[in-house]
């Protein structure tokens, strides 16, 4: 069975919400639609207080090449353009809409019929994806149209759909794979047409046998797309690791996936692309897992972007008594939520409750130089050394030891028997080193 070649760890997969079918979450009374839902410049609002908007209507334009437009997820009246606080507590601009009914833009095809025939050509597909504000839903929320337009001189050879979902607890991609397999396949076919490639792969980890079965069955109708079963190992869903696992090519240091001829997109993104291109539906909904051993209900919700997290948490009975940390995303790379009133974003994938026992950091002790961090690092770095150099602020040595290659997966810290917060130190030093590197004059 295939997997990536260096490092990795095996956290318990804890997919306890795997059997919860996707439910539509009720539309909130007020939606707070953030302008910063993607990597890159925040979108520029084009609506004014008092304007009436419909579901799917454009409310903000992309602001630059690396940016994405934002559409309304509800119908109603614009209350204002306000400053709201995101889940880390940072201020951001948002269009606040008072909800009235649920009136969709007429051009959106709301039927359940699966549209198989791809009518648009490559250029039109990319334009459509851009207009619909599609961003990568695997975590980084990078604008999808940019990823589908390789820079001059680079040529895509194949598309890989990331169905690894290697983070423990998360099940939104799994539910999409087994509930909407055909849509994912068509989404993949659309992107392959956009990239002008004839080879596609969907990588799924072995701990999702149901998804592998369903997808393999459905993929019979799509001879160009191959379902690849992957061994269960974290961080299989990392872009570089996934390419290595599926086709055995390695993205060069400081390089991009396209350097290996690969374009990687997430399962959720494939679904969004299908809906945008075939159904004319912009991205304003997402699938969100609500889970945790201490949470009385396990849910996979389809939510409207801009729904306050607190509403979703209320629906499962509030923050459980035993919960000590609430996380957006998985337990390995997700962010701890500081502001429970933050609105959901396009890329929101989960609300995870962890108990104190599960998440509390234990007291750090001396490094015993066991080398387990080196064994675990999927990028072949030496986390113990980077940690030491970072504490001494030895920037040249950090660069020489390739701190910039760190993908911040957290394997080193997860495995460290001395409970040293390796990634915490390395992450900060990496940002500083990258700043120094960027400030150098280009050759």
């Amino acid at each position: 069975m295939k997997t990536f070649s260096i490092g990795g760890v095996h956290p318990h997969d804890s997919k306890i919400s795997a059997n919860a079918a996707i439910e539509s979450f009720p539309i909130p009374e007020v939606a707070y639609i953030s302008m910063g839902q993607h990597l890159g410049a925040p979108a520029e609002p084009i609506v004014a207080p008092g304007d009436k908007v419909k579901v799917g209507q454009l409310i903000a334009n992309a602001n630059g090449f690396i940016s994405a437009p934002v559409h309304s997820s509800v119908s109603g009246t614009v209350k204002g353009i306000e400053t709201v606080f995101d889940l880390a507590g940072n201020p951001c601009k948002a269009v606040v809409i008072t909800v009235e009914g649920d009136e969709w833009v007429e051009t959106i095809d709301r039927s359940d019929k699966i549209e198989k025939e791809i009518k648009l050509d490559s250029k039109e597909i990319i334009e459509k994806i851009k207009e619909c504000g599609i961003v990568g839903l695997g975590g980084a929320t990078f604008p999808t149209n940019v990823k589908l337009s390789p820079p001059p001189g680079k040529k895509a050879e194949f598309l890989i759909i990331n169905g690894a979902e290697c983070e423990p607890y998360l099940t939104s991609d799994y539910r999409v794979l087994i509930e909407m397999p055909e849509q994912v396949l068509i989404g993949a076919a659309i992107m392959m047409k956009a990239l002008n490639v004839t080879q596609g792969f969907i990588g799924i980890e072995e701990n999702k046998p149901e998804a592998i079965k369903v997808m393999t069955e459905k993929a019979k109708g799509y001879p160009q797309i191959k379902i690849v079963t992957l061994k269960k190992k974290y961080p299989q869903g990392g872009e570089k690791q996934l390419i290595d696992a599926v086709v055995g090519r390695k993205v060069p240091s400081m390089g991009l996936p396209i350097d290996t001829g690969a374009v990687v997109q997430n399962v959720g993104t494939a679904l969004a692309v299908y809906e945008a291109v075939q159904k004319n539906k912009p991205l304003f909904e997402g699938i969100l897992t609500v889970t945790g051993e201490c949470c009385p209900q396990q849910k996979n919700y389809k939510h409207r972007v801009g729904t306050p997290l607190s509403k979703i948490i209320e629906a499962v009975g509030g923050v459980p008594e035993a919960a000590a940390k609430v996380i957006s995303g998985g337990p390995m790379m997700g962010k701890a939520i500081a502001n429970l009133d933050a609105p959901t974003l396009k890329g929101s994938s989960s609300v995870l409750f962890l108990t104190e026992e599960q998440t509390k950091r234990k007291e750090e002790s001396n490094c015993i130089r066991c080398g387990k961090c080196i064994e675990a690092c999927p990028m072949g770095l030496e986390p113990y050394l980077l940690n030491k150099l970072a504490k001494a602020r030895r920037m040249d040595d950090l660069e020489a030891n390739k701190i910039y290659d760190c993908i911040e997966c957290g394997c080193c810290q997860f495995t460290c028997p001395a409970y040293i917060p390796l990634l915490g130190t390395i992450r900060l030093a990496k940002a500083d080193v990258m700043k120094i590197m960027r400030s150098r004059p280009k050759k």
Binding site: S253, K325, G380, D405
Partner: protein
Amino acid sequence: MKKLLVSPSPHIHGKENTRNLMRDVVIALLPTVAVSIYCFGLSALKLALVGVLACVAVEYVIAKYMLKTKVTVCDYSAVITGLLLALNVPINTPWWVLVIGSIVAIGVAKMTFGGLGQNLFNPALVGRVFLLISFPVIMTDWSTPASTFGFEFDGVSGATPLGIVKEGLAQGMTLSQIYAEHNFSYAEMLFTRIGSAGEISAIALLLGFVYLLVRRVIRPHITLSIWGTVIVFSGILWLCNPEQFTDPIFNLLTGGMLLGSIFMATDYVTSPMEPKGMIIFGVGIGIITILIREFGAYPEGISFAILIMNATVPLINMFCKPKRFGKEAK
């Protein structure tokens, strides 16, 4: 409302911790301790207890009253040092000699460098070599294993196979004459043979090795490369002159070879962290051990070999980098 924790990822941690890893090493040593008690009776148990208690006490006193830092004796690392030291000395070693060894091992070799994780040399080996040089008579007074119970062991004293060979060769005998006179058998070497408490049973030591590998406490690189080097290097010498040089199997099974290669050379703190470095380290130990055994003044050389290679670990770590993901950026 109740306050929630907010900290950067990762939010969960694996099951491993320092204490469990060290405890696994102690567990891996238990078969060897059991065999030593079987062969030497309660005096072996006494030695083990004295070693462990002395090492733990020395670390506690130094950490608490001299360095005034957090006391970390509960992490089992001092227990391992004490056990290894006790398994490394002859069975009739007086308790106060072992205590002196513990003071040197923990006090000098470990705590002066800054405690757990900071020492350059393997503490148990520093203690052993210190005792070997300071008390040469006591430290080479070996006894023949015999099932007796009692706190004072009164078995027959004898020489280790390595000692007999060294002595015989020095007197101008050939190896076949020495073997004939002393009746060596490989079977004896596998189960019980003359030596320190930790050297008498190869089977018990190998059992510990398997346990450490299965529990993923250590990686096999160092131990296997020592064995490989010993087999190849002593094999070449043996093929050149079988009457002068001992054969590879003899070298692998005698003396502290197994104890050293399984439990001492693989000490995390004093060995390289990356597979390539581990192999260089192991090859170095193998070569130096055979050089000392075949050409040196001492019959046994693995303690010195490990200590010498310990000194090269920072250099090895500096030059042996793990295989990075992806090619260099253009």
